[in-house]
Symmetry: C2
Subunit: 504 residues, 2 copies
């Protein structure tokens, strides 16, 4: 097949070399061209994508066939040469280099082979965390308080000053659920100091009430996604393929207010949908056969199709949960760490009272839940516990990510570039009716999506035009650029999006 | 208080320095003293423990108080200075250095600051895996097949040649359960190619049958431990404190044959107990109201109190599960990677047919489940999936661990040293009746335990005598030395154990 080369790659493949060869741009006085409104953050990125072969190309195909012998490859999207990937660009073994606005399912915060992370990875602290992995609940490192305070907790959501560390989004959510169940049952018993009864002790071992709380639940929203283990999957309501054949708890689901776009043309209708959703939540909290002790919600339903709701809706949710003594858990696994133009997406809501727990993972490269209320520490040790309770190496990486976000003011960058990108997409949507439907994410940084009637083909074709994009829900094209995505990248993306729809 | 110094520490604190200063002992011709039957594996360990202060000492106390402001420290056992820890020795901020036979709840395979791991941690591959974390199911690195084949899969249990990678023991077990549920339901539907019904698709989203498999279960054993998330906790039956207040599935439990010791004095009784347990399993498989599609079992119940059963029992379990078309999942999270004197503990059983799945974590420093039957790959992609599906940095660490185990023949070392240690403990048990009760783990490497009537005090006092030891179950002292534990360490341990019981 003919190879397509959009522009000559710089060929500066980011092989792992001494950090000095990756000097971050020190000066912001770089002469910006008319297209490039900001100076580049790093000097080692290519100027644009390079597409040399079909993806997968011949080398990738051979490697995938080898991998499939031992590891299921049916969900494989693209085989990657990470050492050759750099910044916003993902490379494959056939020499293709794509602008990556999927970013490992929204999990790469500050680009491939980031020089600051390279330095952190080479530090004595990191190597120590890697090769001497502690059981953090039993044998924490002497500097664990400092690692937390200068890292994970430095960016703790307002009102939350403690953390339980975990491994990934699923167990972050599930340990938050466990904290919620223990909290409510302690209240029901009359406080932290009331001992368990003999009947509770004995029945818990048989998975039976009253020891196992079969009479409490977690409420989640339809089209929400909170993970794939047994407890988190019971709250996930995204797609049947995630849930089929797996036993689930009898926990309730409320309707998420699926807004109509453009928002300004459907204001009254959307407000009514949100009001109805809040009423359904209240109804379920007060009448469901297994009463919820907590509600979990994503600020923007991501896997479920990039579904947004207004700040007023979330303030209403905080109000109704407080009214009924139910905890509010905000799942910021995908929305957290800057991509919405705030460090945490729920900062957009202006809540009068903070969420009770906020879970994180993905761009944090580690995971856990934040909380503030000391009652959310269970009444006895070893109730919320496991061997590793996270990974100090990954906690150190998050600290380095935070430092880089602060140094380059990347949350503000993402807010600004998001607005720029959104404006360009609005123009595209007008120009190509029916191709960029329900454009959403205005004012939410680069956390932007739209629907396309041929979504799956759209995503496949994107690669041919030099861009790696993901989907969500039934028909959404979800954009999840990294925090180092700049106006010049937005221009390249918009150019490719136009080529895709023109090719239909 | 007076400081206790058992022998002068070498003061060669293993600070992170260039690898050259940690030269592993190349020659095994080292002149072994009469006490030291083998040459040391590494030259940087101290000669023995050093106890300078109470544990926690003043520095640790201050750091723990600081940590407790943000992180629950009630399960804290010992605050650790990992950079000063080396080999079999764990150090704290007050200058105390203990022989560590707990090893981060059986999770450190080849010692603190192991020079081979230090080298691996500094490699380009590792740094790449750390800073460019992939979504392994979607965007695997081009060398992922090679990383698996030269690492995780190089030590795959006989008969199992595929792996699903995970983060820790809990999700390794839960994803194995998910594979079991999907496997059985596919059989019930009539095969991989039978599509889901509309009713299944719709009901799964409501957490209801027939889409959610409310009618299938996982059978586990009383006093077993398989993790603490909602699905794994439903199979965990170790202690109420692990289970209280957490909703659980209606899944069955069978009695684990709690053997009497010494085994040779209770042969008939123990055989009868095992036979009864197998009959109970068969009864539950055929009559339980929620029929099991899989049985999960630990080769040695670890958290539950170091409960052993004979190879014949496990062969019987394999037979009865095959007879009833039920999968056998062997949970080798704690027993795997060499500590029983075989790489996998179930190799001791001489099974005519391999287990269907074997889960691993802890000493592997990564996690997942092995399987062989291609039917255990679900019929469609994205059924067994999550964002990270493991961590390549940790997979690379396991590969380095495997290489070191092979280079130094550490499984054979552990078998030999285990026998040596067991012999010494048998002598102690005779000398101090009632102090080393139910000594168990003969022929199982260093995976040895005994009961002590004042177990908790025993463990506390062990630190004063220079040893870090853990407990399990109600009264067990569980020994979990690393694979680099040698005869000289066994001598030091036995000396300390004797001092403890003499001090009572």
């Amino acid at each position: 097949m003919a190879s397509r080369v959009f522009r000559s790659s710089l060929g500066l493949a980011s092989r792992l070399r001494p950090a000095a060869s990756f000097v971050p741009c020190q000066t912001r006085a770089f002469a910006a061209s008319s297209r490039n409104m900001s100076a580049p953050f790093y000097s080692f990125e290519p100027e644009g994508p390079t597409v040399k072969t079909d993806i997968p190309g011949p080398r990738a195909k051979a490697a995938i066939a080898e991998l499939d012998q031992v590891f299921d490859t049916r969900s494989l999207n693209m085989l990657v040469d990470y050492q050759k990937s750099s910044g916003n660009y993902i490379a494959d073994p056939d020499g293709n280099v794509l602008l990556d606005v999927y970013a490992q399912i929204a999990s790469i915060p500050i680009g491939y082979n980031n020089p600051t992370l390279l330095k952190a990875a080479r530090s004595d602290d990191m190597i120590n965390g890697l090769i001497n992995r502690p059981a953090l609940g039993n044998f924490p490192p002497e500097d664990w308080a400092s690692v937390l305070k200068t890292g994970i907790l430095k960016v703790a959501p307002k009102g939350l000053d403690q953390v339980f560390t975990a491994m990934a989004g699923s167990d972050a959510n599930e340990t938050a659920y466990k904290a919620a169940f223990m909290w409510r049952r302690q209240q029901d018993r009359g406080g932290h100091h009331v001992e368990f009864t003999e009947e509770e002790l004995a029945s818990s071992m048989r998975n039976e009430a009253p020891g196992a709380s079969q009479s409490l639940s977690i409420l989640s929203f339809k089209t929400g996604f909170h993970g794939r283990l047994f407890g988190s999957l019971s709250t996930t309501r995204s797609k049947p393929i995630h849930k089929l054949d797996i036993p689930a708890f009898d926990w309730p689901q409320a309707t998420f207010p699926l807004l109509k776009y453009p928002l300004e043309e459907h204001a009254a209708e959307n407000a009514a949908a949100e009001q109805a959703a809040l009423q359904e939540v209240e109804h379920l909290l007060t009448t469901y056969r297994v009463p919820p002790c907590a509600v979990i919600v994503e600020p923007i339903q991501s896997e479920g199709g990039d579904n947004h709701a207004s700040a007023a809706f979330f303030r209403g949710l905080r109000e109704v949960t407080r009214k009924h003594n139910v905890l509010l858990i905000v799942d910021e696994v995908q929305t957290g760490v800057g991509a919405t133009g705030r460090f945490w997406a729920h900062e957009h809501w202006d809540l009068p009272h903070p969420p009770d727990m906020v879970t994180f993972s993905k761009k944090a490269q580690t995971a856990g839940y934040y909380f503030g209320n000391p009652e959310l520490r269970p009444n006895k040790p070893y109730r919320q516990f496991n061997t590793w309770m996270g990974d100090p190496a990954r906690a150190l990486l998050f600290r380095a990510i935070i430092q880089e976000i602060e140094r380059l003011d990347l949350v503000a960058n993402t807010a600004r570039v998001g607005d720029y990108l959104y404006g360009k997409l609005e123009a595209l949507a007008k120009q190509y009716p029916g191709q960029f439907d329900n454009l959403r994410g205005k004012g939410m940084g680069t956390f932007i999506a739209f629907d396309n009637p041929r979504r799956d083909e759209f995503l496949l074709r994107a690669k041919k035009f030099g861009v790696n994009i993901g989907g969500s829900g039934q028909s959404a094209v979800r954009l999840r650029p990294m925090l180092i995505f700049q106006e010049k990248h937005a221009d390249l993306l918009v150019e490719a999006l136009e080529k895709i729809v023109k090719s239909f």
